[in-house]
Subunit: 258 residues, 4 copies
């Protein structure tokens, strides 16, 4: 059985290297999650259990790929930002996209019972992924701002929409009611009609979730006389900070450092 | 919060369309599965439970992506062949690679307890994926032959290696013993020293697993008087046929048909 | 002066290899040739001198790149088809595109005075180029048919348009007159109004130009007693055959042979 | 003649857009110029006429593509740097590569008689081209430094080599003599054996050629009473400055400005 006769087929695998010294964003998106979330009775507009499961997956992805500097998630999507100097897997696009997507998905199924114990999986959750390069810190920040601004816009709309629906309106009526309304009006509507103060909603809903590395002192062992030996370890940390303004970046300068 | 100011970052997402009218192979590979298989006490050289789980995942992938014509798996890898006329997701490479990898991985974790009930997951299984285009039927067949020839070579080596190890040799001794041996000698060694007739080993070990579509008559409902109403349905079917020779392709001409 | 400190910039040159075993078409197009042809008083709708110069350039390109199997030209464009098994320059797209474009352009300027002796160059002619892969013989033939069908459509329109203009109509009037007319009507118009029998126009205008390799006996030297020594040599040959139908391909089976 | 039946072949033209907001370098290289320069008796190690012709072509390329910010040339190669914000031809790689290469080549042939009047073209000069993206100003400067450092290294070697050859050594002897010599030794050798003070050689040989835009006052017309009307115009300017150090970039901050 001549193996070598077929070996030539390997040359059809073409290189797909991402430009060096650019930030690499791998963005994942749930496939058909509108349907998936209905099937699993996700609370609308936001289901804490589902969001916390997403965050847990992101934390596990950071643990697996330590070249990730920051991640941002909302709803059924998550973006992972690899250091611009990362040379992981030779910066091959399909390697990075597939591994991150696979790792995230595997954790989603693995930890599902821990976050939604009363809700057995009815169908298999699937995510797609893509890689995008950003050549400068400024543009990378604009990318992250784009996602966080999007989170706000979607959440504000969804909060209104579901408040109307829960109050008895049909989906179509709710849509009609919101057509063309501006940001200010939506907050007003929420307050006047439903007594909801938008800015007091949980930050996770309004700002999405940010995962960064945090240095912590961890007791790694005890000496014979019982004294704890501590070491600084890096652990992924989830927060819901504003990442559009300067403040966050001033307090976390290590994220963009090379 | 001006969303539009950030929207320009979308233009950094570049197209990665796979050449039309080529066969698209998406090949998945387990990441660090040597370690993963040890941690989960996979039987060596072949663990039926693990192989059947891989096959189950492949079947689920075919159910999800019906443009797949044939799949081939061995050990911790699986190749999925999309029809050359498929326009699924506009033939975008990262979409196809990530979705197939994600779907496979999700099923791997989801159905793990069914196939390895006594073996809880100790770590998260991760797969990488890549897309390769093959411009002709002939080259596609050479690709599949390459993988099946590889299955044989690996399995023969592994069967010898683990027979030696199970007989008391160290890993290094087993390696030394096999260095430079030819196919004929390996079969002889297996037979004379261990009484193993290589060709009588299960086809799944020697030939890998092939998944194709099979038309079956299925009872879809019963009429009022109880008569079963049947319909032809396509279902993924796993077999372990030789796909290097002509015979398989003559009996399954629909696979390569456009 | 540390050279090595800067060498890292080489890694930004990413691979752009064209899929193996596909036909490679390099198509060139004149940049701004409407203006260029006016400036150099090209005869309308077809200027023999300009077309013959294009053909000469194509011939020189074939002489330089012998992996080209066939070329097709019309107006200010030319397509060069590299053998699907060609490995010239490792099938790097930018190498092939730039070299073919450069070679064509250099010859265009070099041989201009020979073809348009009374017309000195007033500006610099520039061509763009692109590479396209075609996975099968059938699709390659459809590509070439597409270009030849386009030649016919353009030439028929232009012949009508310029006949109207030369008869005293303005450009706008000529356009108006032709809006929405079908193929049959255009030929009728040409015949009834201008006595032009379309099918009797030169094949070069109607069918474009095809360059293939032709084997010729060539006298390479003479023996002492004066006997000519002949050898078969391959030389590019320009013809204006129909390449849409079967006939051409039956008589020139070597073009698509691997 | 159904045009539409063939139109599908257009979809095989895949996008090759260069990452936005990166500097685009198009680098050209003469094909087989060792042979070309011998055939046309170029003076060794540097032929002023040939270098000035290269520079003239570069100037014409800048005139044609005003998004070019700076160009650098040495020997038979030239690099053109497009503004990182350029959207010329949608940043399509093959468009940019082919047009720049074609424009350069056309000018090379067109202006050849002006720069080498006594030397008719014996063969057709051909250049290849490639596109490379650089994500930051700093890396772009390193690219340019790399080319200028290379100019120095090559020129120093060639100056020694040809001095030895012109003094009667064979090519092989000259190579042997220079094997492994360091920069300092080469300058010493030139001075002690040939009385050549390396640093006094023309800057064009040692530093290569830099083309930038220069603002000049130009008389565009005269008023009725004869007063000249002047306007600032941008014209390409060739210099031979050091572009590795800071000084050049401090005096030409407009080059990197967005």
């Amino acid at each position: 059985m001549a193996k070598s006769r077929f070996e030539y087929v390997k040359q059809f695998e073409l290189e797909d290297i991402l430009l060096p010294r650019c930030w690499i964003v791998i963005r994942l998106d749930g496939k058909g999650f509108t349907r998936f979330s209905e099937k699993h009775s996700f609370k609308k507009p936001n289901d804490d259990r589902a969001l916390l499961l997403m965050n847990r997956c992101a934390v596990e992805v950071l643990r697996e790929f330590q070249d990730i500097r920051i991640a941002f998630g909302e709803s059924d999507e998550y973006s992972f930002v690899f250091s611009k100097t990362s040379t992981l897997y030779g910066r091959r696009s399909s390697k990075l996209v597939s591994l991150v997507t696979s790792c995230f998905t595997a954790n989603y199924v693995r930890w599902w019972p821990e976050y939604l114990p009363s809700q057995p999986l009815q169908s298999t959750p699937v995510f797609d992924g893509r890689a995008v390069c950003y050549p400068s810190d400024e543009i990378l920040r604009d990318y992250l701002s784009w996602r966080q601004a999007d989170t706000h816009i979607n959440n504000q709309y969804n909060t209104c929409f579901w408040a109307l629906v829960h109050s008895g309106k049909s989906h179509t009526e709710a849509q009609e009611r919101l057509k063309g309304t501006l940001t200010e009006h939506k907050n007003e509507l929420l307050f006047s009609e439903f007594g909801i103060s938008y800015t007091k909603l949980p930050a996770m809903y309004r700002k999405g979730s940010v995962v960064i590395w945090s240095q912590e002192l961890k007791t790694v062992k005890h000496t014979e006389d019982g004294t704890p030996v501590q070491r600084k370890v890096c652990e992924p940390l989830v927060c819901h900070d504003d990442i559009i303004g300067e403040k966050f970046w001033l307090s976390h300068q290590e994220i963009l450092k090379c």
